[in-house]
């Protein structure tokens, strides 16, 4: 610490660089772990909506059906509690069990009830006046729309068409959301965390080595003067550990402060409670401790040569070779990845993402291992072919210290790996998203379809809403898509006379009230019985009015468009897109920090020869060109290798050729432009530092 305290402005500058790198890395690590914490918290808050079923001999607390309705273009979670026992323990967020006929709503839905006309929302419920407001304990996010409705025994909601099941509630005390989608989000988050953790660790390592590298010659001098191995290690490591620990605390605090902003990132249909995104105090302490240990380990690694051979380091006898044995790392990484793929496909779904994440980490490790080797080969080639001073300097530097030269590029290389992994996936994702055609679907038993259509026309005419109705189609059958479900020729405006095209057939099959179909026909509730009566409001703004008005025609069922009925899937697809972007942005943020930090560090490390070169008449631009040459060519080659491995990583999910689709090429092009721009920016950012350390005749070191 005394070395730092007495080290002058440059010592503090270097410590500042270390601190900045470690703080950013820690913040991102906390963000990644905070996302996992957020998912846990969300599941804990919504576990009651998929409650534990009562045993056959047990009297259920209520029959619960959870579905997703729509209002004002937003998802509205509707929880129907049929025949609730008033004395039973209520769900989280409610002070007591809702009574029959009662409506409990989330604060955001309460606002909508106040602001929207009753015909667009309130008329869907048994009462327009909520009995109370749900507390945060029962909500996934502050702006979530939730309605809990108490209904009498035998309510039609139990038999209405739709994909969700009716659960006889044994207990609401459940902290895990037992849904497939929740599982998918968890697995995806594991993969995202795996994609981000290695670059973060790499940034941590690069940052921690800065101070060690800066001080290596002085420490070697201490060693020459007789300081013991322990004394030298403690001298250098204490400084790094202290700086890293302070920076880690700052990083965790930054994540804590950023949580409200991060809470706006919409995943699974909306934002978050900021508190949910903050890792627990125990995890926060573990993050700080882990970062300090990682930084210390990296610093010790950087000092090993000082301790082992002070003469060699003091006089830089040994070039820092990257050995060919690193190729074994690539082979090992590929083998682990292959095993992980096989295991994740054959193993339990609950851990598939985790296992795949291990495979991703293995390939990540491979990239990090062979990076310095590639740099060394490039350095040899550049040195052999160099005709200009910048090319010669760049080639020699790459050859002299391949690991050091790779360090500024590691983040970007891994970012390209991530882009290579995600580019084909975005193409797949893009193909999954369907447009909302605005056609609302009334689901009715086949025998009643004509009557329902006529009633719908009459009701809309009464309200003065223009809409086209029919023809009726078999739910989910051929021609049953919403696009073809409405015939402009046969649809008649409700304003000019009620008429519905009812000339189509209902599918055959036994009626099963407890197993109805759903708008897209994907449900397991006897879709053969149910037909779809399409209704297209001529004015899209009337959608909520129409669905509210028509809901009573098919009691208990929801009136949704096919896209709205697929809301969960569409939201998942959009989340994948958003998640891809978030991971890419985060990875590039890490890369930018790592590249900038390492570029500045290299200037500091080489400041004396650089200054003397400049004093002897070397133009600053030439030194800059050398820095550019030693960065761009390796980056392009390393990027190519990382891209190939990234595509390999995506191969279990998507064909690599998809990367040539417009969205894939767009993503990769964006990454390439961003990468080169980043190198240019970091190079430009450290130019003032280069100018500063090479300017003037000062003797300071």
């Amino acid at each position: 610490m005394r070395l730092l305290r007495l080290g002058g402005r440059r010592a503090w500058s270097a410590a500042g660089l270390v601190g900045a790198g470690v703080a950013v890395a820690t913040t991102l690590l906390a963000v990644a772990l905070g996302a996992l914490h957020g998912l846990d918290a969300r599941e804990s808050r919504t576990g009651w909506r998929t409650p534990a079923a009562a045993s056959p001999e047990e009297t259920p607390m209520a029959l619960l059906r959870a579905r997703t309705d729509q209002v004002a273009g937003r998802a509205l979670e509707q929880i129907d509690l049929v025949d609730p026992r008033p004395d039973a323990a209520p769900p989280p967020g409610l002070p007591r069990m809702p009574l029959v006929g009662e409506l409990w709503v989330s604060p955001a839905l309460a606002d909508l009830l106040r602001t929207l006309p009753a015909g667009e929302l309130a008329d869907r419920y048994p009462t327009a006046t909520p009995a109370g407001v749900l507390g945060e304990a029962g909500l996934t996010r502050p702006d979530e729309l939730v309605a809990v409705v108490g209904r009498p025994a035998g309510d039609p909601v139990l038999t209405a068409p739709g994909p969700s099941d009716v659960v006889p509630v044994g207990s609401f005390d459940r902290t895990e959301a037992d849904t497939t989608v929740a599982g998918i989000y968890r697995q995806l988050t594991y993969v995202a965390v795996a994609l981000m953790v290695v670059p973060i660790a790499s940034l941590l390592g690069a940052s921690a080595r800065l101070t060690a590298a800066r001080r290596v010659e002085r420490l070697a001098t201490l060693r020459l003067l007789g300081a013991s191995t322990r004394q030298v290690t403690v001298t250098a490591v204490a400084e790094v550990t202290a700086v890293a620990t302070v920076a880690a605390v700052v990083g965790v605090a930054a994540q804590w402060l950023l949580a409200p902003a991060l809470a706006h990132i919409s995943i699974a249909g909306g934002g978050w409670f900021a508190a949910d995104l903050r890792p627990s105090p125990l995890v926060s302490v573990a993050i700080v401790a882990g970062v300090a240990v990682l930084a210390t380990g990296a610093a010790i690694g950087g000092l090993r040569q000082v301790v082992v051979s002070p003469l060699g380091v003091a006089r830089r006898q040994q070039p820092q070779h990257a050995r060919l044995i690193r190729l074994l790392g690539l082979v090992g990484g590929l083998a682990v990845f292959w095993i992980a793929i096989v295991a994740s496909q054959g193993g339990p779904a609950a851990v598939a993402g985790l296992i795949f994440g291990v495979g991703v980490l293995a390939l990540f490790g491979s990239v990090s291992l062979i990076g310095p080797l590639i740099v060394r080969v490039l350095g040899r080639s550049m040195t052999g072919r160099a005709r200009s001073v910048p090319a010669l300097l760049a080639g020699r530097r790459l050859l002299d210290d391949p690991k050091g030269a790779f360090r500024p590029l590691a983040g970007l290389t891994l970012a390209v790996f991530v882009a290579g992994f995600l580019a084909p996936l975005t193409t797949v994702i893009a193909g999954e998203v369907g447009a909302d055609d605005g056609v609302l679907v009334l689901q009715a038993p086949a025998a009643q379809a004509d009557r329902v259509a006529a009633a719908a026309s009459a009701r809309l005419a009464t309200l003065g809403v223009a809409a086209r109705i029919g023809p009726v189609t078999a739910a989910g059958g051929p021609g049953g898509t919403a696009e073809t479900g409405v015939s402009a020729e046969t649809g008649v405006s409700a304003e000019t006379g009620v008429s519905a095209e009812t000339g189509t057939t209902a599918a055959s099959g036994p009626a099963s009230p407890g197993n109805p179909g759903n708008p897209d026909g994907s449900g397991a509730r006897g879709t053969e019985d149910i037909v779809a009566v399409p209704v297209l409001p001529e004015n899209p703004a009337d959608r909520d009015r129409v669905r509210t008005a028509l809901a009573p025609l098919t009691p208990g069922s929801l009136v949704l468009t096919r896209a709205e009925a697929d809301d969960e899937e569409i939201v998942l697809v959009e989340d994948l897109r958003r998640g891809t972007l978030v991971v890419l942005v985060a990875t590039f943020l890490i890369a930018a920090t790592a590249t900038g930090t390492a570029a500045a560090a290299r200037v500091l490390d080489h400041r004396r020869p650089l200054r003397l070169l400049r004093l002897a008449g070397t133009p600053l631009a030439m030194l800059d060109r050398a820095r550019w040459a030693e960065t761009v060519l390796p980056l392009l080659v390393l990027g190519g290798v990382a891209l190939a491995l990234g595509l390999l990583c995506a191969s279990p999910f998507a064909s690599a050729v998809l990367v040539f689709s417009p969205s894939g090429l767009g993503l990769l092009g964006g990454v390439l432009v961003a990468g080169v721009a980043l190198v240019a920016a970091t190079s430009a950012a450290s130019r003032p530092l280069l100018r500063s350390v090479t300017a003037g005749p000062g003797r300071e070191d």
Partner: protein
């Protein structure tokens, strides 16, 4: 300038115009006047030692004469041409093309082999790599460095490293070589051998040599000594 072209050093001739002239050179850093109207004249083939106590302004004088710092007053002429008012870019080119430098330590690029360190100024001047390395290699034998061409600086002794630096300073055939404490990091015996090599080679290549040093024995190896105190040159002593 190749090694073959070297000849015995001609004696410094008083009637030959000086290669380097500093008149009334003044430099201030804030309120502190480091140089106060210092004068220095150097002829071709002549070695001038600049000595004086620490903080007297020796290095600042060297930096002003070499175009590293722009003086606040006075003038600096190189082969008769006034250079003190030149832009930073012109002074940079001047240092690269017409001046040579030897510093105390750490001046070689650690990544480059010795021969490429010597070739660097030639390449910076536009000479092809092959020719630059060929010309650089010719300096190794006269400096007793034969066989060390491909060694990296870290694999050389302090004296060897300093001799490589001397070769680098002279390889372009500069008008003047500036040496700032060139023996400061060497033991006395190696230091004296090094300064003898430097003065000898500078004389043979007809380069003026300015040596800033604390060491009286080093100063004694030069043709003339200029003492500087409180920023003023107070004496010129013929060795």
């Amino acid at each position: 300038m190749t090694v073959e072209a070297m000849a015995e050093p001609p004696p410094a001739r008083a009637d030959e115009p000086p290669v380097l002239v500093g008149r009334g050179v003044t430099k201030r850093f804030g309120a502190t006047t480091v140089l106060a109207a210092a004068d220095l004249v150097v002829h071709r083939g002549e070695a001038v030692a600049v000595t004086g106590p620490s903080g007297s302004g020796k290095s600042t004088l060297l930096h002003c004469l070499a175009g590293i710092l722009a003086p606040d007053a006075g003038e600096v002429r190189l082969t008769g041409e006034r250079i003190d008012g030149w832009s930073e870019a012109r002074r940079t080119a001047l240092r690269r093309e017409r001046l040579g430098f030897v510093f105390q330590f750490g001046q070689l690029l650690p990544e480059l082999p010795a021969v490429e360190n010597v070739a660097l100024p030639l390449m910076l001047g536009g000479v092809s790599r092959r020719e630059a390395v060929g010309r650089a290699a010719q300096w190794f034998a006269p400096l007793g460095l034969t066989g060390l061409e491909q060694r990296r600086p870290g694999q050389l002794s302090g004296g060897q490293e300093q001799r490589v630096a001397i070769a680098r300073a002279l390889v372009t055939g500069p008008d003047v070589v500036f040496a700032d404490e060139p023996t400061g990091a060497l033991d006395s015996e190696t230091g004296l051998r090094t300064i003898e090599l430097l003065t000898g080679l500078a004389a043979r290549t007809r380069a003026g040599l300015v040596v800033v040093t604390h060491d009286a024995e080093v100063a004694a190896r030069c043709h003339r000594t200029v003492v500087i105190r409180d920023g003023r040159t107070i004496a010129g002593v013929r060795a």
